[in-house]
Amino acid sequence: MKNRLKVLRAERDMTQADLADSLQVSRQTINAIEKGKFDPSLPLAFKLAKLFGLKIEEIFEEEE
């Protein structure tokens, strides 16, 4: 699954550690999601969407 996490984070001037802090996960998890190596659970995706004030589908996109 592709995502815009890195761009959204950069737009808000947040580090991976800041985002991990806000979501109560490890920095490794944020890094893995950004690189597309790990797809977050639905609750974590909702947390991300809420944090950025966006819909889940505006952050994540299914890969063709």
Binding site: A17, D21, Q24, T29, A32, K37, L44
Partner: protein, 135 residues
């Protein structure tokens, strides 16, 4: 602040698991070697020490569950994958090893310690590979 709480929780859970694991290993060693070297196979003392070892083992399992609970979803996935591989290696490797013994392909008896080593090593290797994969 939140990260500090999370890190603190993880640190506490890891410390607790390490303490109970060390106590369990030491009490296991005492139950095995103490019987031969200290109390000369006194049954009552052996039962007492083995019971203590079992209780410590239960506390260690509980500490492991707490340690897993303190992890986030990716860390839990890495642990689950590693445990799955370790379980598979234990069942397949253990039964193959047992078959070698039953069919007299190997001259010595199958020892449970080999199974424990196989499970431990396969778990550690799988854990390291998992951590590397998501790095």
């Amino acid at each position: 602040m939140k990260t500090e709480n999370r890190n603190e929780q993880m640190k506490q859970a890891t410390k607790s698991l390490a303490i109970w694991t060390i106590l369990w290993v030491l009490s296991l060693a005492l139950s095995i070697f103490g019987s031969k070297l200290i109390w000369q196979e006194n049954i009552v003392l052996s039962i007492l020490v083995i019971s203590i070892n079992t209780v410590i083992g239960i506390k260690m399992i509980y500490a492991n569950v707490k340690h897993l609970s303190a992890q986030d979803e990716l860390q839990k996935k890495i642990q689950l994958d590693a445990m799955g591989i370790a379980l598979g290696a234990g069942v397949v490797g253990g039964l193959s090893y047992s078959s070698l013994d039953v069919t007299n392909v190997i001259s010595s008896d199958a020892e449970i310690s080999f199974l424990v080593m196989l499970i431990s090593i396969s778990y550690l290797v799988a854990l390291l590979i998992g951590k590397q994969r998501y790095a």
